[in-house]
Symmetry: C2
Subunit: 338 residues, 2 copies
Amino acid sequence: MAETRQWRLASRPTGEPTLDNFELVTVDRPEPGQGEVLVRTLYQSVDPYMRGRMRDAESYAEPWDVGDPMQAAIVGEVLESNHDRFDSGDVVTGDLLWAEHAVADGDELRPVDPDRGPVSTALGVLGMPGVTGYFGMLDVADPSPGDTVVVSAAAGAVGSVAGQLARLSGARVVGTAGSDDKIDWLTDDLGFDDAINYKEVDDLGQAMAEACPDGVDAYFDNVGGPITDAVWRLLNVDARVAVCGQISTYNATDVPTGPRKLAKLIETRAHVEGFLVGDYDDRWDVALDRLSTFIADDDLRYRHHVVDGFENAPDAFLGLFEGENIGKQLVQVAELDA
Amino acid sequence: MAETRQWRLASRPTGEPTLDNFELVTVDRPEPGQGEVLVRTLYQSVDPYMRGRMRDAESYAEPWDVGDPMQAAIVGEVLESNHDRFDSGDVVTGDLLWAEHAVADGDELRPVDPDRGPVSTALGVLGMPGVTGYFGMLDVADPSPGDTVVVSAAAGAVGSVAGQLARLSGARVVGTAGSDDKIDWLTDDLGFDDAINYKEVDDLGQAMAEACPDGVDAYFDNVGGPITDAVWRLLNVDARVAVCGQISTYNATDVPTGPRKLAKLIETRAHVEGFLVGDYDDRWDVALDRLSTFIADDDLRYRHHVVDGFENAPDAFLGLFEGENIGKQLVQVAELDA
């Protein structure tokens, strides 16, 4: 019988995850039942939110069980289909497993058109991260022409889309990122008006104030922590804060503390709102259509940081917390038509 | 020439204000110019937000200058009027001074009808605090029948109105307060479903969880600090947080710190919004009409904590931070028709 490999959760991390928390196992390749499809993984996504699923605590995503395979968004090729929407050779995307092969209910898969561009975009700019940036920026942060908009983790998969959409809305866009390469990409390629390398500045508050001389009208928050503290001090009246992620706190073992900031909301009558892309399922295709058009018009650019080889998936995940990726962090598991 | 007394800001407080920050001075009684009215103060309000005006920092209310008289909402009797809307003997309310007599632009005063109830209500349930509770609860916290709503500083002038309005909206209402007398008032007289004496409980988080077994759908936040931390942990999906005040932090000399809580907003997609009653000027009369009706129907109750004598105004203000008041904290400066 054919075999496949899976990454399983070996143990729950305390603080920063390590390779010891992951176990690579070889298992029999599953067979698709009625309505199911066997998929060969081409690309696997690793995302910051997965850190929450390694924890044994209720949150918006179910925790993984120790010893079980972990879930991931993947792009793959259909090897066998018992579902009338899909044939062998089709490229699909969906939430499957950290695995070289997996079986999925065909109703839970979306087709990917390889003629539309690299199929890996279905995990990035034309997938969950891009759609997250789209609704978080346009529905929650809601920039207007002339606004100053700050995006944290702006060189990541979500932030790079969010920031460019703010620019397309006519706002002045300021990003934060953690390397000079990322800063260059934001300002030189993506059209950010300014960008701050938070690892290099002496005084983050001062740097943010200098980058936002008219204050901040909208903030797309991917990171939390001191960057968020610096932005909140500059919020203008009626500012909007879209809380998308708080990666700076995900590996904390104690409850992280910081300045109490809520009084700022009274002065500014600011709105702070958390959001999840899952709440926008019914408008997902609208977002994909618009994002595709922006890409075709070269109004929206993206980058992928591809880690090669399924065996390196945990490294790719851990790299998210080191900020190694520019753009979407992906694992290439196999090649199409290989 | 007739004289009057004023309280002036003698110095800016560091941390908790003290009596040394106030200076009582005797000055010539001012004379009303064209369109102006001379008012004899009957009641003066003291409010937590005044702490911000003692500080030399921009906020939503202008800082007071050292050496200048301080502003306050008052109810008073017209002694002389050069404004065609007012005659001697009329009762009015407006933002005047910490003073026994003051002159105001008649356009800035509102008439108070003594037949409608105690004139002091114009500083409480039928004044800024009541209207604050009205819009903060009904527009921002927006309770629905069956919701669990928490109000902090629930026995204060704002919180007591906010909580009762939540109850009238069909919500289950839980309040926090700092004495057993206040707890009794909330549960026995105002119809709160539960109330927590935060000074007496061993574990605030546990007490809040027990009082809110179905989580928290809306939170009217007057205090910030650990009470707010306890409530945020219980926020439900789509919860609303109305940030009205943060009195627990107003006297802090260092930036107060606390647990970073923003990740909770992602999980819950909660909205957090600061508000100021000044943004509702055009709907003020609507609120007063509805609040008056609720009072007439005995659906809304209030209490005043009256400190007697103008010379005790600073003590009355300092008492706010000790939590001495049940209901609206007022200073009686003179008697009507005295």
